[in-house]
């Protein structure tokens, strides 16, 4: 009886381990499910369009398609939704009408494209979702940077810096949003940084504004917010060029001690290094554009009939006080995003020597 009980318990234990291992194991696409003969027509529906990051992103995808898969691709159609949900839906419909073999999409919003992507998936069209937050679960592959980690890492570092500065997690915070409602904004702030700050009730949000991820708008917003709260301890920025704008406004007010979160923007890195001796410190979680390239790789592989991991979410590589010098590119303009797949020679060609 005792033996039987031990045997049964062991069996249950082993079964539990097996089930949990199965639950955690990454799932893979079905071998040969989307196999087609090359050359392929690939559609890429991008969420933004027109700002520095997007221009560099666009160039990186085209470079990859040409260099790595030139012989496999007959057409690469790229559309920019400009943060417009309706336009992205129209863009995707147009790409389908053009008879693409596969769709790569970086969604404007985590939820708005779910039904469209579901319907394409159900029709057997390979869909690879890349870059940002996405609430759906029907896709061929998903390759994204963890936007929540982006926000969380920056917020946690800021709280640590605050404790170092004043001895306790007590202080005032200004929040510089990107585009309210956008996928990256939701991931970074609502699901990433906000819950971290919420753990510390003595950290008070004294001002909030949306800088649209742009330098000029970010500067205008932060100038107003800092004028209203000149003693603010921290500025959490949703990234983009706004972080540089926030750092410059603080510096102009003699506030090198203001704790700011940033992103991998070359201009910010130059400012950071130049003002480190004055007490300026920052952190830069990155939103690497090379992640979209991994999505591109996944698309080509499934079209070739190979199997790929369905979901891969990369933790954002983070640049700190200690490593910023390794990433800055002094010979290139401020507008470069350093976490790119583009080789330096291509960047030089695009942006020219400063």
């Amino acid at each position: 009886m005792k033996r039987f009980a031990i045997g049964a318990l062991s069996l249950v234990f082993l079964l539990g381990i097996a089930i949990s291992a199965m639950a955690q194991a990454p799932s893979y696409t079905q071998f040969g499910k989307y196999k087609k003969e090359p050359p392929y027509k690939i559609g890429f529906s991008y969420h933004g369009g027109g700002i520095d990051y997007d221009i560099q992103f666009d160039a990186a995808i085209k470079w990859l398609a040409n260099k790595e898969y030139g012989s496999l691709i007959s057409n690469l159609y790229m559309t920019d939704a400009q943060f417009d949900v309706a336009k992205q839906q129209a863009d995707v419909e147009d790409l389908i009408a053009k008879g693409i073999d596969g769709l790569i999409i970086s969604p404007v919003s985590p939820s708005a494209e779910v039904s469209l992507i579901n319907s394409l998936y159900d029709k057997g069209i390979p869909v690879v979702v890349v870059l940002g937050e996405y609430d759906g679960n029907k896709y061929t592959a998903y390759r994204a940077s963890n936007a929540q980690d982006f926000g969380r890492i920056g917020a946690e570092w800021m709280v640590q810096q605050l404790i170092k500065k004043v001895g306790s997690p007590k202080g005032s915070l200004i929040v510089l949003h990107g585009v309210p409602g956008a996928a990256a904004e939701i991931g970074r702030w609502d699901r990433g940084a906000k819950p971290v700050f919420a753990k510390y009730p003595q950290i008070k949000i004294v001002g909030e504004g949306a800088g649209q991820w742009a330098y000029d708008e970010g500067k205008r917003v932060i100038t107003t917010l800092l004028a209203a709260n000149p003693k603010a301890d921290m500025i959490w920025s949703c990234g983009g060029q706004m972080s540089l704008a926030a750092a410059e406004v603080c510096a102009a007010n003699g506030r090198y001690d203001c704790i700011i979160s940033g992103e991998d923007y070359n201009g910010l890195f130059k400012f950071w290094i130049a003002n480190k001796s004055k007490g300026f410190s920052c952190i830069a979680p990155t939103f690497p554009s090379w992640i979209a390239n991994t999505g591109f790789d996944a698309m080509i592989q499934v079209l070739l009939g190979q199997t790929v991991q369905v979901k891969e979410v990369f933790p954002p590589p983070t640049i700190t006080d200690d490593t910023v010098r390794n990433y800055v590119v002094p010979s290139l303009p401020d507008t470069i995003w350093v976490a790119t797949a583009l080789p330096k020679a291509v960047l030089q060609e695009m942006y020219g020597k400063k």
Partner: protein, 338 residues
């Protein structure tokens, strides 16, 4: 021969009276014909069905905007009303579908009423009044739903986007109803005549006994209702509420109405022209994508087309008014000589 001359005269007369330049209609017909012949992807049933599906929200909101523009106003709040509608729908529909629809439409009409009262009773410039409500309504949308989400009943989505054998039947019904009701109200109803009169000459309309305040408030309520309907449609398209989704419709609705011959100065225009404007705008985006035209060039071309069409329309109106002025002056001169 005499018959042919009479027909030509009738066509010229129709063209002269038309709100939108007749050249625009002919040009559009020619472009569609060329696209049908030379761009195979354009004429596929899937593409045509997609065009119809995406034209509905713009048609609704541009039709509402046309009412306001004819009354010599402008409604910048339509985009934010669309966003608000998706947010209201996404938080109310899951509890009670019918109530959700009613509340959504009522919220749009309430914004329209506020705009109308601000413009007429408080004498605030329409541009500033509706800009103010845009900011307020955008804030309310973000308060209701800080980020996209919510649950939309499947029965509502199926109804709004319903198709039979691949043909978006409901969409066609919406298209015909919006255009038809708009045309009938503006052309055949007393309200339509009063709106044209108010937009054309406010003082004259007042002297003629038109209740200008009521007429103008009604135009803003119609615009709010139309934007809320567009919001409901977008809710079905994106199957969620989104506080940002309406922003692009603000300028597109004005562009569609103006492209169709509706004057920003009021008193002139109509829904038929707006339908043409919507078709042009929706088709442009589609064709640019099908031809793989770079986004930046798309923007340049869109702007150029807008300026060309509106410029042509203005030039035509100017030359017509000069002709009328010249004719009346020569008639006066003849009279004096007599």
């Amino acid at each position: 021969m005499r018959m042919r001359r009479r027909w030509a005269a009738r066509i010229r007369e129709k063209a002269r009276k038309a709100h939108a330049p007749i050249g625009l209609y002919l040009g559009l017909s020619f472009v569609i014909l060329v696209l049908f012949l030379f761009l195979p992807q354009f004429r596929t049933p899937l593409n045509l069905s997609n065009l119809l599906l995406r034209s509905i929200p713009l048609l609704a909101v541009a039709a509402g905007q046309t009412f306001v523009l004819i009354g010599a106003g402008i409604d910048l709040s339509v985009g934010s009303v669309i966003s608000l509608s998706t947010c209201v729908a996404s938080v109310t529909m899951e509890h009670n579908l019918i109530l959700g629809i009613i509340l959504t439409l009522a919220s749009g009409m309430a914004v329209g009423l506020a705009n109308g009262i601000g413009v007429t009773k408080l004498r605030i410039n329409p541009f500033l009044m509706t800009l103010g409500t845009t900011i307020i309504v955008s804030g309310i949308s973000l308060l209701i739903r800080p980020y996209p989400g919510g649950t939309i009943p499947q029965v509502f989505i199926d109804f709004m986007l319903g198709s039979v054998g691949g043909v978006p039947v409901i969409c066609i019904v919406f298209f015909v109803v919006i255009a038809g009701v708009g045309i009938v109200v503006l052309r055949k109803s007393r309200y339509g005549r009063h709106l044209y009169a108010t937009g054309g000459n406010l003082d004259a309309a007042k002297l003629a006994g038109v209740r200008i305040n009521a007429v103008l408030i009604a135009s803003y309520i119609i615009s709010g209702f139309a934007a809320a309907f567009a919001g409901l449609y977008m809710t079905a398209r994106i199957t969620s509420g989104d506080p940002q989704t309406g922003s692009p419709f603000q300028m597109q609705s004005i562009a569609a109405a103006v492209l169709g011959g509706t004057a920003l100065t009021g008193g002139r225009g109509g829904i038929f022209g707006t339908v043409i404007g919507v078709v042009i705008l929706v088709m442009l985006g589609n064709v640019f994508n099908l031809l793989d035209i770079n986004l930046y060039w798309q923007q340049v071309l869109r702007g150029l087309i807008l300026i060309l069409v509106v410029g042509f329309s203005q030039f035509r109106a100017l030359t017509r008014s000069r002709t009328v002025l010249g004719a009346s002056q020569s008639a006066q001169g003849t009279g004096e000589r007599r």
